[in-house]
């Protein structure tokens, strides 16, 4: 976190030491803030809110009745500061006591009505995120690495004195790219051809080939988008008609690679097919004021498109950043078709929210316009070419998926300093330059040397603070990827059409190409195994899944019926389809499909012991289980 916002306040602090306290009107900036900074800020300012009290904004003081404007000596904060018994006083007894003069100043300030500069907040540390898109100046290419991503990263690494990471081997690259872009393991024969290919452009060609597989791409990215847009085939709310699915719209949009600006517009100002997103989840009966469907709209729109957490600011002014309660309600009021009363901490304030949005510098919402119009205006503002936040947020999410960690991380805290502003801005500007083509961003990333680099082998998870980029991180497969991968290795893909999802029909309408024959896990309602492997209940927006296997999950994988049945079927399938193959050939086949590599001698020996000679069903089952449980199999390196 940067301390840039703190500096002017510190400067003021130095001035204040010599400034006379007897001034007629106490000045907030020169007199009050220095005292608050000195004695209160550490525990009650910025992101700190000990005892639930944050002094960041005036309304937060009012929420907690910390002071009564007009009555300094009758105010709780002054009472605490004057307390003689240090066990009860503020600041706490291990902190320096404020001087009588300082208390007097604060008291007088309260007496005079607590003058507070409009919009001022002590919520520091939030990175001043730029709104407008920026076209970074690209450093010169090194060694012919001219992908803009590489030009920026090479310069970044050089500055940090870190050598560029060596490239991974081609087979592993194929597996990574295929899993990342279409969620499928590559066929060993394809990998072999790729490895032997001497064409220097083969990496780029591979990426293009994968991205051209529209159907496989759409089926894979369903997982990401369903999590993000909290869409599912089943879930709470459907039972009482309080929720609508957007699956068909989403699938069609992914198949067609709908430009992201249009995609966003269709979600924000939707027709029937896509309205499920902004409608949220409505339970029957009364709900907390911060969870009405209007507020859900504000929270989801803020988080999904702008990487802004307005959940704090749905109840009170945020302690974490500068978003206010009123701003959250303004966003909600765009969606509301009734007068929306602002509630502070679930209590009505008597004030009505006026439709408006978070970045008025791009334009305003016409509060008088009907709802449909307001939503259209929001859609226009959101996709305005000057809204760099939209493009930064989505490209950061894509980078996170591909590289294991966001340029801004976590990905929903877009008001955090990125480790490279240039890189993020470059990805964002690329998206808008390329007519909001999401695949083109994936292509830009996937064809870089940075993406091709060996992933880091770390002892511990990277620290949140002071993160320095050195290379891509290993990613854990999603539940959907893992189940599809097991089916691929054992050639037991489901060919039955998914009951709740007319995928084939939609594919026909779009005239897209690619994978046709299987129903992937992402196209099915969640089941016991998928849940156990981390597919979330999509009641809330989900932007990252747990990165580690838990004991309960491991139990399900060790003896659970679901995986066991898959493995039994898989073993039978492999034996039937490869009659006459030797155990060694079977081992090569399984390792090739599962890990895109040959087994080592030691592995081969162990697998032979498992398989038996001649191979028996049980042996194949045990080997499959063991391979599927390898950390290397369950991760994308």
């Amino acid at each position: 976190m940067g301390d840039m916002n703190l500096r002017p306040i510190l400067a003021v602090l130095i001035l204040a030491v010599t400034s006379p306290v007897q001034a007629k009107v106490v000045d907030f900036h020169t007199e009050v803030t220095p005292i608050l900074m000195k004695h209160c800020y550490e525990c009650h300012g910025g992101t700190e809110a000990k005892g639930g009290f944050s002094m960041n904004t005036l309304s937060l003081w009012m929420d907690k009745k910390a002071a009564k404007p007009g009555d300094g000596e009758g105010s709780y904060v002054i009472e605490l500061m004057r307390e003689k018994d240090l066990d009860f006083a503020m600041p706490p007894k291990d902190k320096p006591r404020p001087t009588e003069q300082e208390i007097e100043t604060l008291s007088k300030w309260i007496d005079q009505g607590m003058q507070w500069e409009e919009g001022f907040t002590f919520a520091k540390g939030t990175y001043e995120a730029p709104l407008k898109p920026r076209r970074p100046e690209l450093p010169p290419a090194v060694d012919g690495r001219d992908n803009p991503v590489d030009r920026i990263i090479d310069a970044y690494l050089a500055k940090q004195d870190i050598p560029p990471r060596p490239a991974m081997d081609d087979a592993a690259f194929y597996r990574r790219a295929s899993m990342d872009l279409i969620g499928l393991l590559p066929e060993p024969a394809d990998v072999e051809r790729f490895v032997k290919d001497s064409d220097p452009n083969k990496h780029t060609e591979l990426i293009d080939k994968l991205l051209a597989n529209d159907r496989a791409y759409a089926r894979h990215w369903l997982t990401f988008w369903n999590d993000l847009l909290r869409n599912d085939f089943t879930g709470t709310g459907y039972i009482t008609g309080g929720r609508r699915s957007i699956t068909s719209w989403l699938y069609k949009s992914l198949l067609e690679n709908k430009p992201y600006d249009q995609f966003t517009r269709e979600l924000l100002a939707p027709n029937k097919d896509a309205e499920g997103f902004i409608k949220g989840i409505q339970w029957r009966g009364d709900v907390n004021a911060s969870q009405t469907t209007e507020i859900q709209f504000a929270q989801n729109v803020g988080q999904v498109f702008l990487g802004i957490n307005v959940k704090c600011a749905s109840c009170h002014d945020s302690f974490l950043d500068s978003w206010t309660l009123e701003e959250s309600y303004s966003l909600a009021a765009i969606y509301a078709d009734r007068p929306l009363e602002i509630n502070r901490c679930d209590k009505p304030t008597g004030k009505l929210a006026k439709p408006g949005w978070l970045f008025p510098e791009l334009g305003e919402i016409d509060a008088e316009a009907p709802r449909k119009k307001r939503l259209e205006q929001l859609a226009d503002l959101m996709t305005d070419e000057d809204n760099g936040r939209l493009t930064r947020t989505i490209t950061n999410r894509l980078w996170h998926r591909m590289m294991g960690r966001g340029i801004i991380h976590p990905v929903d805290a877009m008001e955090t300093q990125p480790w490279s502003e240039d890189l993020l801005d470059q990805l964002a500007i690329h998206l808008s330059d390329e007519q909001y083509d999401l695949k083109s961003v994936l292509r830009l990333i996937a064809t870089s040397h940075a993406y091709r680099a060996q992933s880091l082998v770390l002892e511990e998870e990277p620290e949140a603070d002071g993160y320095v980029y050195t290379g891509p991180l290993v990613k854990r497969m999603t539940a959907e990827q893992l189940i599809d991968a097991i089916r691929q290795v054992t050639q037991t893909q489901t060919t039955k059409a998914a009951k709740k999802f007319p995928a084939q029909q939609i594919e026909k309408q779009t005239g897209t190409s690619g994978e046709v024959f299987t129903t992937r896990a992402a196209m099915l309602p969640s089941d016991f195994l998928q849940r156990a492997l981390g597919r979330p209940n999509r009641e809330q927006v989900v932007t990252s899944r747990p990165q580690s296997l838990t004991t309960l999950q491991a139990l399900d994988l060790a003896n659970g019926e679901a995986l066991n049945a898959m493995i039994q079927r898989g073993a039978t399938s492999l034996i039937n389809q490869h009659k006459g193959k030797s155990p060694d050939e079977m081992i090569t086949l399984v390792y090739g499909r599962a890990l895109s590599r040959e087994p080592t001698d030691a592995e081969r020996k162990l697998c032979r012991q498992m398989l038996g000679d001649p191979m028996i069903q049980q042996g194949v089952e045990d080997m499959l289980w063991s391979v599927f449980m390898l950390p290397e199999f369950q991760h994308i390196r």
Partner: protein
């Protein structure tokens, strides 16, 4: 919000305010993962001595009518033409082994262990405008009313996260008797049968059928124990044989650890706890009134073996079991037969094993029922009775068919609670609302957490916001019920 802090409230001393300040801090964590706030300074679990080591929740799913069970009122036998407004209870009261406590006919076994019980008659629920079982169940089990901005953890998940299992081999949180597939409102049930934002590591080990629990920890179907063991030994070697290190150690370690933990349970003597057929016939029969009774037996075995939190439910299925929208009396007769003996047996059994003092057994339900009132008096919640009538015409009319949130009974045994103690009171005439010591879900949870040594103010940072074990950290334990 935060009225515990409100200085204008004279009931609050400054001392409490200061204690609260010391107990919490809102350090903003920058990673996406939830973080226990103040854990490193021992603030997360603040200086409460645990009174209990384990919790068993006996869940009367669907709304157990207090006037028909633990809070009997004036009894009116069935009589054709009787004005239904006159009906409060459809069962006579019976004596218990505690002088001032009477409960309802059909609970004769529990009546004989009331001298070990704290009987709370004043639990209350909020009026949510429309009574939906699964929504109130969500509230009861997580302390939060859905929808929510983050997925709330189940009580058992909090215990699993904060305390872990009593024995490291055992799953901390086990959920017995509820199917999550093939029943109505299953999605709503799944929504709270989860560890929520704490992550699936702390989620429930679900056992819908207690008699099949043994299979949940057995080797896979068709696999001998020997083959299972060998498979794991070879697997471990195969992991080692992989050659180059491709995967970060933290990824690989966490995975190996998880697989190893799983195999430790599957290879441990402890797993016998799951197999209720190993119980001596005499004890087994005492419990065995049906699926719920067998669930109680399984719960005892699991807690004995080292689980932390076990819930046993009569199972929620819309309009079935305690969810009496018609034929309430007849259905309640049957349900009492199912639950009376196993509950009493569980209490005596735990006591005989010297475990009752450190095991908190809680009999509870999402709300109560009434003949006339839906929600609370004055609520505009929709009347959902399926046997609407002004006067009794047939047996199906006889029973409490509306959802009542104004006064619900909760029975606690052991875990440091008082014995033969009555807490709270409801009015004798309709509306039978709590008129003494009303206890909200948040306060009830605070009481349970306090028994387990967990401060009701314990919180996690998730998405850089605080999330407390009791809503806003405001749950207040009913300290009177502790001995």
């Amino acid at each position: 919000m935060n009225d515990w802090y409100d200085p204008s409230n004279p009931a609050l001393t400054r001392r409490r305010f200061l204690q609260a300040l010391g107990a919490s801090s809102a350090a903003a964590m920058m990673t996406g993962a939830p973080q226990l706030v103040g854990a490193d300074r021992g603030e997360g679990i603040e200086n409460i001595a645990a009174r209990a080591d384990a919790v068993i929740v006996l869940w009367m799913a669907g709304g157990m009518a207090a006037p028909e069970t633990f809070d009997p009122k004036r009894y009116m036998p069935f009589e054709k033409g009787l004005d239904v407004e006159k009906i409060i209870s459809t069962f006579p009261a019976i004596d218990t082994n505690v002088d001032n406590i009477k409960i309802s006919e059909g609970l004769e076994n529990i009546a004989q262990v009331m001298d070990r019980a704290t009987l709370i008659r004043s639990a209350i629920q909020p009026d949510l405008g429309h009574i939906l079982h699964s929504r109130h169940q969500y509230h009861w089990h997580t302390g939060y009313v859905p929808p929510l901005t983050v997925a709330a953890p189940h009580l058992g998940a909090w215990m699993a996260r904060l305390l872990g299992p009593q024995d490291p081999v055992m799953p901390a949180f086990v959920n017995i008797g509820q199917r999550l597939e093939g029943v109505g409102e299953k999605e709503e049930l799944k929504a709270f049968t989860t560890a929520g934002f704490l992550g699936s590591a702390y989620g429930p080990f679900n056992i819908p059928y207690p008699e099949e629990a043994g299979r949940a920890v057995a080797t896979p179907k068709g696999m001998t124990a020997q083959r299972f063991e060998e498979r794991y030994e070879r697997y471990k070697k195969l992991v080692e044989a992989g050659g180059d290190q491709y995967i970060s150690e933290y990824h690989e370690d966490s995975m190996r650890q998880a697989v190893d933990n799983a195999h430790r349970l599957l290879g441990s003597e402890k797993k016998k706890a799951f197999d209720i057929s190993l119980e001596p016939k005499e004890t087994y029969d005492k419990y065995n009134t049906g699926r719920f009774g067998r669930g109680c037996l399984l719960a005892r075995r699991l807690v004995e073996a080292g689980s932390r939190f076990v819930e046993v439910t009569t199972e929620y299925v819309p309009f079935v079991h305690w969810d009496t929208h018609e034929k309430g009396h007849e259905t309640t007769v049957r349900l009492k037969q199912e639950v009376d003996r196993p509950i009493a047996t569980l209490v005596r059994d735990l006591e005989a094993r010297g475990m009752l003092d450190r095991t908190l057994v809680i009999v509870a339900s999402e709300f109560s029922r009434d003949m006339m009132i839906e929600g609370v008096p004055g609520s505009n919640a929709k009347d959902q009775s399926r046997a609407k009538t002004d006067v009794l015409k047939e047996m199906k009319h006889y029973g409490l068919h509306r959802h009542f949130t104004g006064g619900t009974s909760v029975v606690m045994f052991g875990g440091g609670t008082k014995k033969g103690y009555l807490y709270g009171k409801t009015a004798d005439e309709r509306p039978n609302i709590a008129i003494e010591n009303p206890l909200s879900v948040e306060d009830l949870h605070a009481t349970i957490y306090t028994a387990m040594g967990i401060s009701p103010k314990t919180k996690f940072d998730i998405e850089r916001r605080p999330f407390f074990v009791t809503k806003d950290g405001k749950g207040k334990a009913a300290m009177d019920i502790f001995a």
